[in-house]
Amino acid sequence: MQRDVGSLPLAPALRARLVAAGFQTAQEVLETGPCGLSKDSLLSPEFWLQCTTALGSFENLIVSSRNIEIGISKEEALEALQVVRQECHSDATRTAGAPGTSRKCTALELLEQEQAQGFIITFCSALDNVLGGGVQLTKITEICGAPGVGKTQLCMQLAVDVQIPECFGGLAGEAVFIDTEGSFMVDRVVDIAAACVQHCQLIAEAHQEEDHLKALETFSLESILSHIYYFRCRDYTELLAEVYLLPDFLSEHSKVRLVVIDGIAFPFRHDFEDLSLRTRLLNGLAQQLIIIANDHKAAVVLTNQMTTRIGQSQSTLVPALGESWGHAATVRLIFHWDNNQRLATLYKSPSQKESTIPYHITPHGFRDVQPPAVTQNPEGTEMNPRKRLRREEEK
């Protein structure tokens, strides 16, 4: 109740006028009432009674018969009082320890929640190990990389993997794919999904369990494709609008466990004159995404581009969108090339160590690098592991 007026979520002009009129705490605003705040001087007692009953009763409601002129209309005054009352009411329920408090808990409870939460596997066991089991829910994961290194491939793989039924170790969720670059190819998703279904069928045949076979009936190519919700955003306004409307969409589709934004850098990099506006918008976007990830228990995956930073003696590739964007993602993966091998580096993570692993893009999707067989090469030259794998597949 002693909440400072400056800290209430009111419109700035309204707040400035309240502070200038001398109100210090929310208590004082509530005590004065709407009629005291507004400009009109002739108000009937009946109207005042209506105001007080509409806003509910508080213990210290002092009826003030004279008015303080601070120059706001009655509607603004009523609105301000609604906000103040809402804030104070939710404060009261929170301090009373009501179970509706969604975001406050002890570390022990969080540990139990985390251990019960699943991961979204990537089908590349080395990457899963580096990430601690897979892509984590309730966190933002950012994938940065040069063009052609496999970021969109991983996103499409994750959109399929999130739908794996629970008996096979997946989350049985749905996916939202927001595309800004137009790089989502449906036929590629068909290939990846077919490989995934085949993989699960092989497991079911090996284990022959009831629930595996039942789950396989619903886990088919059509169902996978129908549970990927695709949005195409052409510029940053559409992207921002989509992200701000996403909570409503997710409340309707409560099974969504993955939100992919493929190409968050693209709409913000070209055609942007005001860089400080860009930083503000990106930070606001990051906060909105973490709220979505947290409230709906979903994983948010973003892809970013790389840019060159020219130093004094050398130039390095760094993730795009600037320094402040680096703080937005909770987990950051950087994909890069080393001669002909694709490597993934875990650059930032709150719970895993930094490390680099090789990976592979096959016709079936995102996979591990197969270790080269020991016996096969009498000449002793190093063969490209990619070539080896293709030969094995052709057998």
């Binding site: 002092i62 933002i140 709220i291 020219i310 320094e323 680096g326 930094e354």
Partner: protein
């Protein structure tokens, strides 16, 4: 700047308040700084009554001056120094975190700010058995990592689980929610509700710049005001309830090749009394490693520019072991 209200002090009656308001005196400050003879004439109130009211209001609302020696005694008895759990960081901070002050950790993404915060939470909740409040605004708090750090300590599992219960985590993703959470904390501490907060000693905020950044700059005027509101809340909490407040901040560059500087600008730089910059030993992400350098950028007690090395890769954040000679370079 309290409003003049009937019943604020014994002499201020309900009839006097509207008369005073009509002559333009709305707040206590207006009243005590006005010429009482004029007011008595304009409002046709008794001069003696007005003088009596002024005396009472001054006694009620003005701050008391304190003797330097008394202040020192009070500080000695109420300030505690909390170890962060990392010996080298303690050395940097002049033996640990001081209660009553705001300490800031800043660094580029991935420099280990959240790891140091988790280490502080682990050490305070396990070794010192005090409660910790963690305000998380980036989603970076991972309970399993905190548990890993606790498991590295020699205490047994029951004590570790108890320590986990002493860490309270609040997820706030918006500046208003953060202000509300701090306000709730202040209410519960002043009412001394022991069960929920316990003997709270440390408040960790990771990070404060994530909630303020979307509001600063451009044509918005409220960003700075909210930032200062937050700063005032933190300092008041630290001072009044003898808490150690630790915040994490980002770093930015002026131009793409300029030096790194802390985010949130010059106004915020006056808020923390101690600032520690965390950076990686290697400059590029291609040669990633676990070693970090912590340097002191601002301190009321130590000379700035002190540097220590930390290792954030293991089960807990440790100081770097002395370099063993490698076998072949």
């Amino acid at each position: 700047m309290a409003l003049l209200r009937a019943g604020l002090c014994p002499g201020l009656t309900a009839e006097m308040v509207p008369l005073l308001r009509a002559s333009g005196l709305r707040t206590v400050v207006d009243f005590v700084s006005s010429d009482l003879e004029e007011v008595a004439q304009k409002c046709s109130l008794s001069y003696k009554a007005l003088v009596a009211v002024r005396r009472v209001l001054l006694a009620q609302f003005s701050a008391f001056p304190a003797n330097g020696a008394d202040l020192y005694e009070e500080l000695k008895s109420s300030t505690a120094i909390l170890s962060t759990g990392i010996a080298s960081l303690d050395k940097l901070l002049d033996s640990g975190l001081y209660t009553g002050e705001v300490t800031e950790l800043m660094g580029v993404p991935g420099s280990g700010k959240t790891q140091v915060c988790l280490s502080i939470a682990a050490s305070v909740s396990l070794c010192l058995k005090q409660h910790v409040l963690f305000l998380d605004s980036t989603g970076g708090f991972t309970a399993s990592r905190l548990y890993q750090m606790l498991q590295a300590q020699p205490e047994d599992e029951e004590e570790q689980l108890e320590a986990l219960q002493r860490v309270q985590v609040v997820r706030v993703f918006d500046v208003y929610e953060m202000l509300r959470a701090l306000q709730e904390l202040r209410d519960s501490l002043s009412q001394q509700v022991l069960s929920s907060t316990g003997p709270l000693k440390v408040v960790l905020i990771d990070s404060v710049s994530a909630v303020i950044y979307p509001l600063l700059g451009g044509k918005q005027s409220e960003g700075l005001a909210l930032m200062m509101q937050l700063a005032r809340e933190l300092k008041m909490l630290a001072r009044e309830f003898s808490l150690a407040v630790v915040v994490t901040n980002q770093v930015t560059r002026d131009s793409s090749a300029g030096p790194l500087k802390p985010a949130l600008g010059r106004s915020w730089s006056f808020v923390p009394s101690t600032r520690v910059l965390l950076e990686s030993k290697e400059t590029t992400w291609e040669k990633a490693n676990m070693q970090r350098i912590a340097s002191l950028a601002k301190s009321p007690r130590q000379p700035t520019g002190l540097q220590v090395e930390l290792d954030i890769g293991n089960s807990d954040v440790q100081e770097l072991s002395p370099a063993t000679p490698t076998q072949g370079l």
